[in-house]
Point group: C2
Chain length 320, copies 2
């Protein structure tokens, strides 16, 4: 985590948020969104997914978007991309990515449907990617994140065995993961489960393994789950501006945890995010302009901060 | 709390939910809503407010609505009404209410604007109401709840001193309150503040004083605040079906904590509410039919419960 913040948010909107939306979000708008988030103080952005454009046309402009991040002064904002396999990793290296987020599902059925291999085959891929990374010259090396989907439940299998999540986490760590991301892929988690799961992972993996929590607000519990995760010591969270990323099978349901509401909650609780919530809210316009008809979720953008609210972060130094 | 539940929800929609809505909610629809909530297993309902119809026309039918609760087999559902003063209490006695919820604001400016007296004058009223109650024959006696508004912040004053909340709580308890309700009247609270406030009240008041938490979702934090309150031992919550009760000065912002989402969260966490969430969601139709144009909030009604969800409550005994 960079100096001066207590909690690290990662914007996953350009990846997870746009993955399920109808229609193509223009390349220029993606770049404008990225630049505005960097300017708001966002510590980390997952910018795209390196998957075949045939599978997800939304990411057909991944090269241009990544090149725009290189051409931008992104300061200490960590830019990363999602990869499902070795091909994605190789593409990441070609494009000079400094961080790549590998993903596999704890649920076998979900992994088969998502990346067309069993979880153990994904782990094998992950091992090979780490070996490939370790053999690179230092200036080409990248940080690798082990992302675990469906940790808290699966649309296909229902309940997921916590032991299976621990196993995948251990395999990632043994294979050389620098960090783990623990995902409630479709909004199944409740705060008790969040506490129990993170405590189990912490006790099985030890204190050196850092973890990001990735929640969805499908059933309204994203911020309650964040509060439970904070309570057991998690300090890194994925979220998406305006809570994009709703599931096709739950019309009207929201998607990723709403970034601006999570940032407000953290700041109100006295934790410095380094993010200016007003600037963040103003970026919703870019979404509204480029995703007509898509519902924008989130409370703080509508209600404003309460009278007397004093954010934990000081933005004096960051003023233009 | 009644046998067989671990957490007690109170529906405040017919009072707090309807207080700010445009237009009159028909008496028959209020009664239908009350009956349907009783049938869903709701343990408590605040049915109306005993205030002059000139001030809040929505409650001009309070007599008919209360009489309907008497004419209904409400089982062990606790029916109560809000009162701002002695007049309200006298009306409650006339109408045979078994529970009355007095309310005063911690913030002086808010209390002056809401009930046109200083908090200490409200406490004086409360004392006289308890004396009046104690002098009644046993079959006329009522349980009295001391409701504290603006505990976590005030639209007029901004931040509110926790010591002032403790003082009002102590005055209520010394005057004979059977229970306290601690209200985030306009959605200012954050989970840290909730933990700190309830811990402070618990330590100042001792273990015998039971408390209900009353949260608003204006800034999206109602369920996160509920999760924090649960974590410090609170087991009684106000909420409103479909999260009615948005504030006139925050267009699009939601109101009370969404009942069905709170019930789902509790059940998913293994706490028995005694409430059938499917039945509860179906009651939204009554709201939709009678408040055209009013946004209905809440996630679980849109997304449904996740695959594999097994509620803590067993409804076998309650089946029709």
């Amino acid at each position: 985590m960079r100096d001066g913040i207590d909690i690290e948010f990662r914007e996953v909107g350009m990846r997870d948020g746009l993955q399920n939306t109808k229609g193509f979000f223009p390349t220029e708008a993606k770049i404008a969104w990225m630049k505005a988030e960097v300017a708001s103080g966002m510590p980390a952005i997952e910018i795209c997914s390196f998957v075949p454009p045939k599978l997800i046309p939304q990411f057909k402009d991944a090269v241009e978007v990544v090149e725009a991040t290189h051409a931008t002064d992104t300061g200490d904002c960590i830019i990363s991309a999602l990869i499902p396999n070795m091909k994605g990793a190789e593409r990441g290296v070609e494009l000079g990515m400094k961080k790549l987020n590998f993903v596999a599902s704890v649920s076998e059925t979900h992994n088969l449907s998502n990346v067309r291999r069993k979880p153990e085959e994904s782990v094998e891929d992950f091992r090979r990617i780490v070996e490939m990374r370790d053999a690179l010259p230092d200036d080409k090396k990248f940080v690798i994140d082990g992302g675990m989907s469906t940790v808290f439940g699966c649309t296909l299998e229902g309940n997921v065995d916590p032991a299976a999540a621990v196993k995948l986490a251990q395999q990632f760590v043994e294979a050389g993961a620098d960090h783990l991301t623990v995902c409630d892929t479709v909004g199944f988690a409740n705060p008790k489960q969040v506490r129990d799961m993170f405590r189990l992972l912490q006790s099985e993996l030890g204190p050196d393994v850092t973890m990001t929590a990735h929640f969805h607000d499908t059933r309204g519990l994203a911020l309650a789950n964040m509060e439970a995760a904070l309570d057991v010591g998690i300090r890194s969270f994925d979220a998406c501006l305006a809570g994009l990323g709703g599931c096709p099978w739950a019309p009207g349901a929201s998607g990723n945890m709403v970034m601006e509401d999570g940032v407000f909650m953290a700041e109100a609780m006295g934790m410095r995010t380094g993010i200016d919530v007003d600037k963040l809210c103003s970026i919703r316009e870019i979404i509204a302009d480029n995703l007509p008809g898509e519902p924008l979720h989130g409370a703080i953008a509508k209600a404003g901060v309460p009278k007397g609210h004093s954010p934990a972060s000081s933005f004096a130094a960051a003023a233009e």
